[in-house]
């Protein structure tokens, strides 16, 4: 897929990982340019907020993430823009073995939705919720997810990137406050024949 970012300034808050690296490369390839720093220290049209994605890690303090994202949104309001949270699909479907990770992601999701309500229509705020994604190793979720994933495999990096591009696309202009899962159907229901 191709989108036209027309020189949009892109900035990253949070950790890098293979998905984020590929997202930034794709955004550059589609006409965006990546700037250092995050609002309010840097002007940006698109702010990516990258959270740890592997099950069992700490997703981060949702209150700090929300506060930082809100500060950035205030700065971005005049020129308008997009904020996209990169989080785990456990935000919408908690995992028994990872209660803290599930709670943190769910809380980040709630904060994302509150930001969407507060900063619309100038800023569209959305999230991508990644299920099991791997390149050579798992970079999001974990192998246990695969037993419940209807398509029967982990996602690829390029498949993870596509959803982020969708939320950055200027033509996708009426979607805000949403989490789009990229999980092969993991969160849709019981992927088993009972």
């Amino acid at each position: 897929m191709e989108i036209d970012l027309a020189g949009a300034a892109i900035t990253l808050d949070g950790e890098t990982n293979p998905i984020v690296d590929a997202v930034l490369a794709a955004l550059r390839a589609n006409g965006g340019h990546v700037v250092e720093g995050v609002p309010p220290r840097a002007a940006a049209d698109i702010l990516l907020i990258s959270c740890p994605l592997r099950s069992g890690t700490k997703a981060g303090d949702p209150r700090s993430l929300y506060a930082d994202a809100r500060k950035a949104a205030v700065t971005m309001t005049e020129r308008g823009g997009r904020i996209i949270f990169l989080i785990s699909a456990v935000a919408g479907m908690p995992m028994r073995r990872h209660p803290r990770f599930s709670m943190e992601n769910a809380s980040i999701l709630a904060g994302m939705r509150a930001l969407a309500m507060e900063f619309g229509p100038r800023i569209l705020v959305n999230a991508v919720g990644f299920g099991a994604v791997e390149d050579d190793t798992i970079v999001s979720g974990d192998k246990a997810m695969l037993s419940h994933t209807p398509v029967g495999r982990a996602g690829r990096i390029d498949e993870a990137v596509a959803a982020v591009l969708f939320f950055c696309d200027p033509l996708n202009s009426y979607t805000t406050g949403q989490m789009l899962g990229v999980d092969g159907g993991w969160a849709a229901g019981y992927g088993r024949n009972f």
Binding site: M1, E2, I3, R113, A114, A116, M117, F119, G120, P121, L124, G131, V133, T149, P150, V151, G152, G155, R156, D158, E159, A160, A162, A163, L165, F166, D169, L171, N172, S173, Y174, T175, T176, G177, Q178, L180, G181, V182, D183, G184, G185, A187, A188, G189, Y190, G191
Partner: protein, 259 residues
């Protein structure tokens, strides 16, 4: 976005209407051959005539014979079907009443088209998809009322909520066969029909419109093209790990309470 659907055949139901025709155009503009299917064959023909590679098709999704005939005509013309967009649906303006007063025949009409019709259409369309073994995409057009209930339209609310969950059910049944099923839940969309409801004669939003738009963070209704853009993404090769999702394209309406 732009993507390459040049080897794909898509069938869009309700494609003579504002949203359906926008979806058909967006898929066509990205290379798909499009079957413009509608109970209004004249409208379908007009839409198809404006597309690069399209055929109009008379289709009543309540009627299995009509649906089978439509699928047969697609097979005859294109020899394949890759994308089904279940867009056809109805609601009522004449019966804005609570459930205790809701006429049973109107309940049957709405659920018969919105829910039963989607089942009849999907069942028939899956036959050639599964037989070909190339996988496929189904995009169901639900509604925000399937996510957050609204008053005075109980059959529409029930049918759209059913579509939301049916989408997930289809996703976990069909995902292993390479057929990905997702849904779009549009909020208010500005069309020629809804414009009459949204605007006063002076061109300003009516009071009731302003009231509900106060609950929409983006503060306006959608354009049909904005719904079509999301459908295009879910139908595109790029969305190959997205399955069982219900994406609200609603300007944030169902994000939370604006209070």
């Amino acid at each position: 976005m732009r993507c390459d659907l040049s080897d794909r055949v898509a069938l869009v139901t309700g494609a003579a209407g504002a949203i359906g025709s926008a979806i058909a155009k967006r898929l066509s503009d990205n290379g798909a051959a499009v079957v413009v299917a509608d109970i209004d064959i004249g409208g379908a023909e007009r839409v198809a005539a404006g597309l690069r590679n399209a055929m109009a098709c008379a289709l009543d999704i309540r009627n299995a014979q009509s649906v089978d005939a439509a699928i047969a005509s697609v097979s005859e013309r294109y020899g394949r079907l890759d994308i089904l967009v279940n867009n056809a649906g109805v609601n009522t303006l004449a019966h804005r009443v609570t459930i205790d007063e809701f006429p049973p025949e109107e309940w049957d009409r709405i659920t018969g088209i919105d829910l039963d019709g989607l089942y009849i259409m999907s069942r028939a369309a899956l036959a050639p998809m599964l037989a070909a073994g190339r996988g496929g995409r189904i995009v169901n057009i639900a509604s925000v009322v399937g996510l957050a209930a609204m008053r005075l339209q109980s059959p529409f609310v029930a049918a759209k909520a059913a579509i939301v969950h049916l989408t997930r059910s289809m996703a976990i049944e069909l995902g292993a066969k390479g057929i990905l099923t997702n849904a779009i839940a549009p909020g208010s969309v500005m069309t020629a029909l809804t414009a009459k409801l949204f605007y006063n004669d002076d061109g300003k939003f009516a009071g009731r419109t302003q009231e509900f738009l106060a609950h929409v963070p983006l503060g306006r209704p959608a354009r049909p093209e904005e719904i079509a853009e999301a459908v295009l993404f879910l139908a595109s090769p790029a969305a190959s790990y997205i399955n069982g999702q219900v994406l609200a394209v609603d300007g944030g309406w169902t994000t939370g309470y604006m209070m």
